[in-house]
């Protein structure tokens, strides 16, 4: 069973079931780590049709453990796309109107070059031989994909959490390529507390004897226990105390009384174990290390002499930021500081804070107020861009 899963993930890494764009030695990816990644590939999905003016393209950036399958069935899990509540024909992001692109980030494990991909120099998976990937590296690769489609200016770039970081990076690095930007439940830097949680996750992975210094594929193993623990800890940060209490309270799992042991007596324990177990089926442990590191390294202000407003100097992009009251991973203050920087840069910016007890994960859920905000923002941006309804 382990071997089967190992093989499948590995295949998806090299030969994904979605379209792939391959860049040879003539087009290396310049990395912030100071090296070039070459050859490399980007796996992506598109939905809808690019119009003749190439003005209706929306780039969706996925979060830490997301992938390119944003609005169609995921080939690994068989589950619906991770943002199908928002994106699709007739949905808020209407794919009969917009051309939606979503690519697996560099460092990911579903077809874009990442630690699970085969290193052409060795014929073995990269493992930790892959240079550290940053948010800016991910965006640089996405730009090459957007160029491939001949899209001069994206109508919109949107994403939540790590996806939101990419949105901010896009708007900062390539302002002339972004007409509107929708960073959701995110921030311009990863906080100390967030880095702390990520470090716990990474240490859990690396403490698993099956990790083998990152060369687990060669041993026919996978550090499933470590990765599951990492996911369990992280999952708590995506929820809120109120939501946990509402959903699970101190309810017992399939039993009448406490067992006076270390079994999963409580529903919340059982739930977290399930989250951990299902996660390892679909995600590569090394990729998890790279993704969390990319988020930790993100600090947009630091790239601009410590002044966040300078990251957006002269921007003409229209922004809409969204935060959630119970999100303690990216609290509203993180979004607000971006808003203040955008104000200082004279940018057009909307900012909505949505009252919910569903925590950070609210951005992935059916949140009517979130949809109303996105709908209003996209509609008015489309009018300004001259896109017909």
């Amino acid at each position: 069973m382990v071997a089967l899963r190992t093989k499948r993930t590995n295949n998806e890494a090299d030969e994904p079931s979605s379209p792939v764009l391959r860049f040879g030695a003539d087009k290396p990816l310049k990395l912030d780590a100071g090296t070039l990644l070459s050859p490399f590939q980007i796996a992506y999905k598109t939905y809808g049709t690019l119009n003749d003016a190439r003005s209706n393209a929306i780039l969706v950036c996925h979060a830490l453990t997301g992938d390119q399958h944003v609005a169609s069935t995921n080939p690994v899990t068989g589950k619906p796309g991770w943002w199908e509540v928002l994106i699709g024909p007739g949905k808020i992001i209407d794919t009969s109107r917009f051309f939606v692109i979503c690519s697996n980030v560099i460092g990911g494990c579903l077809g874009s070059t990442g630690p699970a991909s085969t290193n052409p120099a060795t014929g073995k998976p990269y493992g930790l031989d892959l240079p550290i990937i940053t948010i800016r590296d991910m965006v640089r690769a996405q730009l090459m994909l957007v160029d491939h489609f001949g899209i001069e200016k994206l109508f919109s770039v949107l994403g939540g959490s790590m996806g939101g970081m990419q949105v901010l990076q896009w708007a900062s690095s390539y302002p002339e390529r972004v007409f509107s930007a929708l960073p959701i439940a995110t921030g311009a830097r990863h906080s100390s507390q967030n880095i702390a949680f990520h470090e716990v996750g990474r240490q859990a992975v690396m403490a698993d004897p099956d990790w083998h210094g990152g060369k687990y594929f060669e041993q026919g193993k996978r550090p499933e226990k470590g990765l599951a623990v990492a996911r369990m800890a992280a999952h708590i940060t995506y929820l809120s105390e109120a939501a946990l209490h509402r959903k699970f309270g101190r309810n017992l799992q399939d039993r009448e009384a406490l067992t006076f042991g270390f079994d999963a007596d409580f529903q919340i324990e059982s739930y977290l174990r399930h989250q951990g177990m299902t996660f390892v089926d679909r995600f590569d442990a090394n990729s998890y290390l790279y993704m969390t590191r990319a988020m930790d390294y993100f600090d947009l202000a630091a790239d601009h002499g410590g002044r966040l407003a300078d990251a957006f100097a002269g921007t003409r992009t229209r922004f809409c930021l969204v935060s959630f009251t119970s999100d303690w991973l990216f609290p509203t203050e993180e979004s607000r500081s971006v808003v203040h920087a955008l104000n200082a840069a004279g940018a057009s910016v909307s900012f909505v804070e949505i009252e919910t007890d569903r925590g950070h994960d609210a951005f992935l859920l059916d949140e009517p107020e979130l949809f109303a905000a996105i709908n209003g923002f996209i509609a008015s941006a489309a009018r300004a861009r001259g896109l017909s309804a």
């Binding site: 104000n343 057009s348 910016v349 909307s350 900012f351 909505v352 109303a372 905000a373 209003g376 009018r383």
Partner: protein, 231 residues
């Protein structure tokens, strides 16, 4: 409003309907007579201006300005509900507090900064006005006149804090913590080195009081005032 109505009477009608909707208190407890100042404010703003509406409420002024003057309009509003409604309608609005958040805007970043019926609800009106004059090439401020004869009468005859059609709150639950009269406001402008480019007083029926009238007359009969300032 003359300019706007000449260009697009339909949109003006929509705007008025919006005001009436407000009047019924379904959106906010602001009544018609109070919001007539929005038309006066809109009249002061030329097309294609960059406008920041501080205390933009449910976005009526921004919508009016975008529809009739094609302005590049932004809003700041204290109430999160108001903000979310505005954004859902496609307006560029952020949640913010006039007392705290104006400092983030650059000098002269806007052609016009509007503070409509909000000055009296700020903690530090002097600082807020100072910020408006810094951020905007022009500032437009409208406020209820506490020197109006009804207010004076209420205090003089009844000896009670006035509760009128325009100032419907009791003293203990009012958000309006810094009332001023038209004269007070003119003094504050002088203190801040602001030039009054234009001033309008509206009577109880929302009609403009004649320009030729002296200040004391405005201060007595003006129910609200709209000032265009610069520094």
């Amino acid at each position: 409003m003359r300019q706007a109505s000449a260009h697009d009477p339909e949109k003006l009608q929509t705007f008025r309907t919006g005001i009436m909707r407000q009047a019924k208190g379904t959106i906010m407890s602001v009544n018609h007579a109070q919001r007539v100042d929005l038309e006066v404010v809109a009249d002061l703003i030329p097309p294609q201006s960059r406008v920041l509406d501080v205390g933009s409420g449910d976005g009526l002024l921004l919508e009016l300005l975008q529809a009739t003057k094609q302005v590049d309009g932004r809003g700041m509003e204290l109430s999160q509900r108001g903000v979310n409604e505005c954004v859902a309608r496609g307006l560029s609005v952020i949640q913010g507090d006039a007392d705290k958040d104006l400092k983030f805007y650059p000098d002269k970043g806007f052609d016009f900064v509007v503070l409509s019926q909000t000055l009296q609800a700020t903690r530090n009106p002097k600082l807020v006005l100072d910020e408006l004059l810094r951020i905007g090439k022009h500032a437009i401020v409208s406020f209820p006149n506490f020197g109006h004869w009804r207010v004076r009468l209420s205090l003089f005859v009844e000896g009670r804090m006035p509760v009128t059609k325009d100032l419907p709150y009791s003293w203990y639950d009012t958000p309006n913590i810094h009332f001023c009269t038209i004269r007070d406001f003119v003094n504050l402008c002088e203190e801040l080195g602001a030039t009054v480019e234009k001033a309008t007083a509206l009577d109880a029926n929302g009609q403009k009081i004649g320009l030729s009238m002296p200040w004391w007359f405005w201060n007595f009969f003006g129910q609200q005032a709209v000032f265009l300032l610069k520094r």
